[in-house]
């Protein structure tokens, strides 16, 4: 039982502040708990699946779900491609400055999303922003990125890829360095070109790393929150309202049961996306 005495301090905190809330959230989601019931959380009514049915009738939630879905479907592949390109670039015999590039590309990952969102809001400012100044220099009239509902979500997606590709790059770089060099040498002797080698050797051997990258990026992107909060407040016209942001707003209105139901829908979406990625990228034969 010495084992438990070592495990106990963590386990107690974990039970009270993690496991209990996960279960409580599930229970809350079938009640009409509101902020005004906070002092007596046990005196609320059971409402069954009403919160869930209301959720799917809620036009704002549906909008948030679509926005989040678009963000994930575009953002995850974009981030993966950038990371893969950077990792391959850094792995192709360029030793001298590899450390500098790696640290540089990783920089945004360690910085506060809020600070980054503040900076990007200025960079994307239609008049004073540097992005449109640069575009104007080559004769292009840049849009009002964050104030236009046609470009707002795309802007946030690109910014997220910009911020996050560095962390996948490090994982991919580690995977690339684990691929034996003689495989490439043999392929070169057989007359395979660079692109063919990449398709036939690199990609199949990187499959576990790619899967892992897709799963953690998907989990992170489904929880999109800080960027729209700081950059657009979910607008214009709810074009950047995300599921997490909607949950946060409902919490702010005091609709705790409703917010809990929405958070469980998000949880299920995360599990489903991860499972889907495992099926698509997972244990497939390397030759296929």
């Amino acid at each position: 039982m010495t084992g438990w005495s070592f495990a106990a301090p963590f386990t107690v905190l974990f039970l009270v502040f993690a496991l209990l809330p996960v279960l409580a959230s599930l229970v809350m989601s079938v009640t009409d708990l509101r902020a005004t019931d906070l002092r007596h959380p046990l005196a609320v009514n059971f409402v069954g699946l009403q919160n869930y049915t209301r959720l799917f009738e809620d036009a704002l939630f549906r909008r948030a779900a679509v926005n989040t879905g678009v963000f994930v479907v575009i953002g995850v592949p974009l981030t993966m491609v950038l990371a893969l390109a950077a990792a391959n670039g850094l792995n192709s015999g360029l030793i001298r400055l590899r450390g500098l590039f790696r640290v540089g590309f990783y920089l945004p990952v360690v910085t506060s999303i809020v600070a980054i969102a503040v900076v990007w809001r200025f960079l994307l400012d239609p008049e004073a922003g540097i992005v449109n100044s640069l575009l104007a220099a080559v004769g292009i009239d840049g849009p009002a990125w964050l104030q236009d509902s046609r470009t707002s979500l795309a802007s946030i997606t690109v910014m997220a890829a910009w911020r996050n590709f560095g962390s996948l790059m490090v994982i991919f770089l580690a995977a690339l360095q684990g691929i034996p060099v003689d495989l490439y040498e043999a392929a070169t002797l057989d007359g395979a070109g660079r692109w063919q080698q990449f398709r036939r050797i690199t990609l199949p051997l990187m499959r576990p790393a790619l899967l892992f990258g897709a799963v953690i990026t998907g989990i992170g992107y489904l929880q999109l929150f800080e960027e729209p909060l700081v950059m657009t407040q979910g607008g214009p016209l709810s074009s950047t309202l995300s599921v997490s942001y909607h949950i946060y707003n409902q919490f702010g209105f005091g609709n705790y049961g409703y917010a809990a139901a929405a958070s469980y829908v998000l949880f299920v979406a995360i599990v489903a996306l991860s499972a889907l990625q495992f099926r698509l990228l997972g244990a497939r034969d390397a030759s296929s």
């Binding site: 010495t2 438990w4 070592f6 495990a7 301090p9 963590f10 905190l13 974990f14 502040f17 993690a18 996960v22 409580a24 959230s25 809350m28 906070l38 002092r39 959380p41 950077a86 670039g89 850094l90 360029l94 400055l97 500098l100 590039f101 640290v103 590309f105 990783y106 920089l107 360690v110 910085t111 506060s112 999303i113 809020v114 600070a115 980054i116 503040v118 900076v119 809001r121 960079l123 004073a128 922003g129 540097i130 910009w162 962390s167 994982i171 770089l173 953690i216 989990i219 929880q223 929150f225 800080e226 909060l229 700081v230 919490f251 705790y256 809990a260 929405a262 998000l266 949880f267 995360i270």
Partner: protein, 274 residues
């Protein structure tokens, strides 16, 4: 052939350099602009400040309460980091090296928690912390983060790789489990503790949702909360002040990262998580 190789190398460098400018550029812009006057940020957003001014930083620290926010962020991050180092190494040792009933179930439960989005737990956590009377307190800010699943995973993986012989030898010599833990296991764990410490500190420093909800008055805001609240709504402050604020949030982390980058990158590469 050699010429083609050279050309390929040059174009590769060019692409990587362009990428570096795009990634690092916004940080340099933030830093330079924070030393500009409000007018210059708007009229000449690119380039060096025409004359350097510290007004933004002076205002941040005298007119706004940024010293307080900075202290709050630091206090919370230090406590959260200390808690995770202690609790996660204890349970990590138990999970890796000791046999006890329920060990596997415990590990799987903790691991499963890594998949649960913060949005699922934060409403009940808020109800709990409020009912404990800890809303808007340091305890309320810290308690839910003292024992995170990521640290358990990292410490367990690291400890699994430590040979049992050392621990066995100490047991044969009659040392108790606690003595073994403090005298033998913890010193061996130094690299893992460094990685965990840095990653936890960073996560806590940048944490946003929970302090946004729990800190309800100015004197308990952490830096990201203050920065976000000053950038939107009626509290909106000047460009220059906001950018200086962003520098204050980012700079400590950047310095720590640049000095200790090998711990970051090792943590990512070995556990695959940030």
């Amino acid at each position: 052939m050699r010429r083609r190789d050279l050309a390929a190398k040059i174009s590769l460098y060019a692409i990587l350099l362009a990428g570096l400018v795009v990634v690092v550029g916004p940080f340099l812009w933030m830093l330079l602009s924070s030393f500009k006057t409000e007018g210059e940020i708007r009229s000449a957003p690119t380039g060096w400040p025409s004359h350097w001014t510290f007004t933004n930083y002076r205002d941040l620290f005298s007119r706004l309460d940024f010293p307080q926010y900075f202290a709050n962020s630091a206090i919370v991050a230090v406590l959260v980091t200390a808690g995770n180092l202690l609790f996660c190494s204890l349970i990590g040792y138990a999970l890796a090296k000791l046999d006890f009933p329920g060990r596997k179930a415990l590990f799987l439960t903790v691991l499963g928690m890594l998949m649960v989005p913060g949005m699922v737990t934060f409403v009940p956590q808020f109800v709990l912390i409020s009912n404990m009377g800890l809303a808007n307190s340091y305890a309320g800010l810290v308690l839910p983060f003292l024992a995170g699943p990521f640290g358990v995973f990292l410490m367990r993986q690291f400890l699994l790789a430590i040979p049992d012989d050392l621990i066995e030898a100490a047991r044969v010599d009659g040392a108790g489990e606690w003595r073994i833990f403090w005298r033998i296991v913890l010193p061996l764990c130094r690299p893992a503790l460094a990685t965990l410490g840095i990653l936890t500190f960073l996560a806590s420093w940048n944490n946003f949702l929970w302090p946004l909800v729990v800190a309800t008055t100015d004197d308990k805001y952490t830096l990201p909360v203050a920065l976000a609240l000053y950038s939107i709504g009626q509290n909106r402050i000047y460009f220059g002040l906001l950018l200086a604020g962003a520098v204050v949030v980012v700079l400590p982390v950047l310095i720590v990262f640049l000095v200790l980058q090998k711990h970051f990158l090792r943590g990512i590469a070995t556990t695959g998580l940030k």
